[in-house]
Every structure is written in structure tokens, then in C-alpha cells.
């Protein structure tokens, strides 16, 4: 079979429709990851009882498990109980309600929380102890110090890494085809299942992922520059003052 660019286009057009699914599979986990990852990083920083030691044990373990396995394990953990319930109550259709997309989002979110908690932990370390002490010295509590002084300095540092995390999630989310979720990857493959043009389908999927990732990278670069201006614009102004 000779490579035929037309099949790439057919596959591409089909797969494009599933871009929202791929975005949902990466952006929702990103959001959940930022919220809970930051929370975990902060708890570890302040050595909060129970949570910090627990996180110290769990995170290195979970971090060492590939996303595919998260997905399979979640699929199994969530589906099995539902299967049993379905059998017990004789709900034949319950599985259909329990869309696999939700399982995928849960699995990717857990993965994202772990990855992003590490991102936030290293970003937190970029803020010196002196900033906390200055807060305490003017009578701020720990949480006030975090909210008013520390986190506003942490996020600009974290943004480029969060961008990389998101790209990792977008590409990583392509494994969901293994549990039959139809995302960009699986969408591209649906055409190949009819015409056996797998190479063309893979290339179509690759083009779409490449495009999404490129766009993500650009957006984060713009955001980062905006943040830099807000933080270091000061240094620039300083130069300007000296020149004038």
C-alpha cells in the first residue's frame, strides 16, 4: 500500500472533531492538579501533621507509575464495583452511564496532582525563608503569608514548568484509546479501522498533537512574559531611570 496523503486528510478531519475531548482530558486534570498539587506542596512545606508524612510516602510511589497503568488500574477499580452493583441490581445499562471518559479524567487527574505537586514544591523553594519571616515579623499568620506574599511569587516561577506539565498531559492523554475513549488519537484511528491506512492515521494524529502542543507552548510563553514584566519590569524601569 503506497502512502496516500488523501487518507491523512480524511483521518485528520475526523480526528479534529475530538480535539475538545483531548483538551478536556488535559485541561481538567491541569486545573485539578494546580489546586490540589499546590495544596499538597504547601502541606509538605509546612509539615502539616498526617498529610505531609503521607504525601512523602505516596508521591514518590505514584510518581513512579506510568500513566497507562494509572489508567488501567482506575479503569479496573472503578468498573469492577459498578459491574458488581449492576449484576446485583440487574442494571444492564449502568456501564453505559458510567462513561469511560470520566474514568480517564479521574486517572489523569490523579497523575496530574502528583506531577504538579512536585512542580509547586520546587517553585515554593524558590521563595526564601526571609519572606516568610518578614511576614511573621509584621504579624501575619502562616496562611496570610502564603496568600499575600509567597504564592504571588511562586506562580510566576511555576508557569513555564506548568506549561511543560500541560504538554505532558496532552500527549500522555493519548493513552486513553486503550480503554476505548475516543480522543484525537482514537478518532484518527477510527478511519484506519475501515480503510487500514494506519500510517496515514498516525501522521494525522501526530499533526494535531503537534499543533496543540505548539499553541500551548506559545500561550504559556506569552503568559510568562506578561508575568516577568510584572515582576522584573522594575529592573527595566531602573535602567531607564539611570539612562535618563
Amino acid at each position: 500500500m503506497v502512502f496516500d496523503f488523501h487518507y491523512v486528510i480524511t483521518s485528520f478531519i475526523t480526528a479534529v472533531h475530538y480535539i475538545p475531548v483531548t483538551l478536556a482530558l488535559s485541561l481538567i486534570p491541569l486545573f485539578i492538579g494546580i489546586v490540589f498539587g499546590t495544596l499538597i506542596a504547601v502541606c509538605r512545606k509546612f509539615r502539616i501533621r498526617f498529610i505531609a508524612p503521607l504525601a512523602d510516602i505516596i508521591i514518590p510511589v505514584v510518581k513512579g507509575i506510568p500513566l497507562v497503568l494509572h489508567l488501567f488500574i482506575m479503569n479496573f477499580l472503578i468498573l469492577k464495583p459498578f459491574d458488581l452493583l449492576a449484576q446485583y441490581y440487574a442494571w444492564a445499562d449502568v456501564i453505559r452511564f458510567m462513561d469511560k471518559v470520566y474514568i480517564a479524567i479521574i486517572a489523569i487527574s490523579i497523575y496530574a496532582v502528583i506531577i504538579i505537586s512536585e512542580t509547586m514544591r520546587s517553585a515554593l523553594m524558590s521563595v526564601s525563608e526571609g519572606q516568610y519571616e518578614a511576614c511573621y515579623s509584621v504579624g501575619l499568620t502562616r496562611w496570610q503569608a502564603l496568600r499575600r506574599v509567597v504564592l504571588p511569587q511562586v506562580f510566576p516561577v511555576a508557569i513555564p514548568v506548568l506549561g511543560n506539565n500541560l504538554i505532558g498531559l496532552i500527549k500522555g492523554s493519548s493513552v486513553v484509546y486503550l480503554i476505548t475513549v475516543v480522543d484525537v488519537m482514537n478518532g484518527a484511528l477510527t478511519t484506519a479501522q475501515i480503510n487500514y491506512r494506519f500510517l496515514e492515521a498516525y501522521i494525522a494524529a501526530a499533526l494535531i498533537y503537534w499543533g496543540i502542543c505548539l499553541l500551548t507552548e506559545r500561550l504559556f510563553a506569552v503568559w510568562e512574559n506578561h508575568m516577568k514584566k510584572y515582576q522584573l519590569g522594575s529592573a527595566k524601569n531602573n535602567l531607564r531611570q539611570e539612562v535618563l
Binding site: G130, A134, Y136, V138, V149
Partner: protein, 250 residues
């Protein structure tokens, strides 16, 4: 009035404070001298609980706190009656000068923003930074940053301001501007405890000098007593080392 009674502090096996007793009257400027590692910084940091002392008592105004079992409420109360000026300034990097000064008032003490802004402006004017309200720490020289640090402290109208070597991170030509601001603050009758190696400041401004070595207060008295007529051998050695020239001129 501030009083410390029998303050003990150890880092692991290293005992740094071995029973410090100290009384500072309202409006007094106390300078703490001593060789490196004698526990001066640790003592200051114990007063506002940046370090938790192992034993002893702190009396500040009408509040009495036992170091051994201080509650977080008591710690916050003490911190809201004290302020600190740090060696490396520690201004909030994400805030400009006036926001730095307002932060403790607005977030810490829940003061309305308008009033906090007025107080912050007055404090910045006092330290000679009338034209730098909007400047971020990165835009300021070391001396200017430290003056914002002092403004941040005086704006809180604390019972005491703790200074830990406020000029030792500065270029020599910037030391003067900070010392003269500190002198002006002292003249206003604000209670100050100052750790410094600036002997001229100690002699001119301090009402009381404390000489510390190895976690103990070895000697204390008026600047005149300490500089011209030290009684303890340890003090003499220290002054000889740090002020060789002064020995001749006194």
C-alpha cells in the same frame, strides 16, 4: 517595657542562649554587642518567636508569655507588638514600597486601607523616601530597601523594634543614610534593640549596651562604662579587637 527572664535556647546539642535576663525600658535604645556566634541574632529572634526558645519568660507591656508553652495566639499577639528590621532587608518582593509598609497594617491588623496608606506615607516620608512610594524592591538600592524596612517597622507603631545588623549587608557608602534614619527613629522615643557592629552608633545613640559572649550576658551598662571602663576581661578583649584605634583616642 520589655523583659526577658532566664531565656534558654539550644540547637540540638549546641546551647546558644544560657539563661539570658534582660530589661529594656520604654523609649530606650539598647545595643547588643558580642563576637560572632555569641547568640545575638538568636536572642532577637526569640523575642518575636522566629526562633522558639526552650525555656524562659517574655514580658512585653502587660502581656506575659512563657516560652516553653506559648500558644500560637500568644505568639501572634507578641508579633503584633513587635517589629523587626532584617540584615538582608527581606522586603516583600511582590509589593512596592508603600504596599510593603501597609501589609502588616491591612492584613495583619485589619486596618482600613485608606488609613493604612496615610500611615505608610508618613513612615516612608520619615525615612526620606517620599518619591519612592511605587518603587519595587528590585528598583531600590540596598540603603533605600533597608529604609523601607525601617518604615515597615515604624508604621506598625510597635512596643519595640528589633534590628539585626541592619547595615552589615550594605555598601559602606550607604551605611550612613540608614544609621541616620535609625538615629531619627531613636529620637522619637521608639524602643529599639539593636545588634550592630557600628561602634559609633552604639556610642552615640545607645542608652544601654549589652555585651554577650557564648550565650551569656557578660557585662552591661552605659556606653561610657562599657567603652571606657569595661570590667570583664572578655569585654576588654572584644573591644580591643574591634576598636584598636579607640583605645588610643579614649
Amino acid at each position: 517595657m520589655i523583659e526577658l527572664k532566664n531565656v534558654h535556647k539550644a540547637f540540638g546539642k549546641n546551647t546558644v542562649l544560657k539563661g539570658i535576663n534582660l530589661k529594656v525600658n520604654k523609649g530606650e535604645v539598647v545595643v547588643i554587642l558580642g563576637p560572632s556566634g555569641s547568640g545575638k541574632t538568636t536572642l532577637l529572634r526569640c523575642i518575636n518567636f522566629l526562633e522558639s526558645a526552650d525555656d524562659g519568660e517574655l514580658i512585653i507591656g502587660d502581656t506575659k508569655v512563657d516560652f516553653k508553652n506559648a500558644t500560637s495566639k500568644e505568639i501572634l499577639a507578641v508579633r503584633r507588638r513587635t517589629a523587626m528590621v532584617f540584615q538582608n532587608y527581606n522586603l516583600f518582593n511582590n509589593m512596592n514600597a508603600i504596599e510593603n509598609v501597609m501589609e502588616g497594617l491591612v492584613t495583619g491588623r485589619k486596618m482600613p486601607i485608606g488609613r493604612a496608606r496615610e500611615i505608610a506615607k508618613q513612615a516612608l516620608d520619615k525615612v526620606g523616601l517620599k518619591d519612592k512610594y511605587e518603587a519595587y524592591p528590585l528598583q531600590l538600592s540596598g540603603g533605600q530597601q533597608q529604609r523601607v524596612g525601617i518604615a515597615r517597622a515604624i508604621a506598625l507603631n510597635p512596643d519595640v523594634i528589633l534590628f539585626d545588623e541592619p547595615t552589615s549587608a550594605l555598601d559602606p557608602e550607604l551605611v550612613g543614610e540608614v544609621l541616620s534614619v535609625m538615629q531619627a527613629v531613636a529620637k522619637e522615643g521608639i524602643t529599639m534593640i539593636v545588634v550592630t557592629h557600628e561602634m559609633s552608633f552604639a556610642m552615640d545613640i545607645a542608652q544601654h549596651i549589652i555585651f554577650m559572649a557564648d550565650g551569656n550576658i557578660v557585662e552591661e551598662g552605659s556606653p561610657k562604662d562599657i567603652f571606657t571602663n569595661p570590667k570583664e576581661k572578655r569585654t576588654k578583649q572584644f573591644l580591643e579587637r574591634i576598636l584598636p584605634r579607640w583605645n588610643y583616642s579614649i
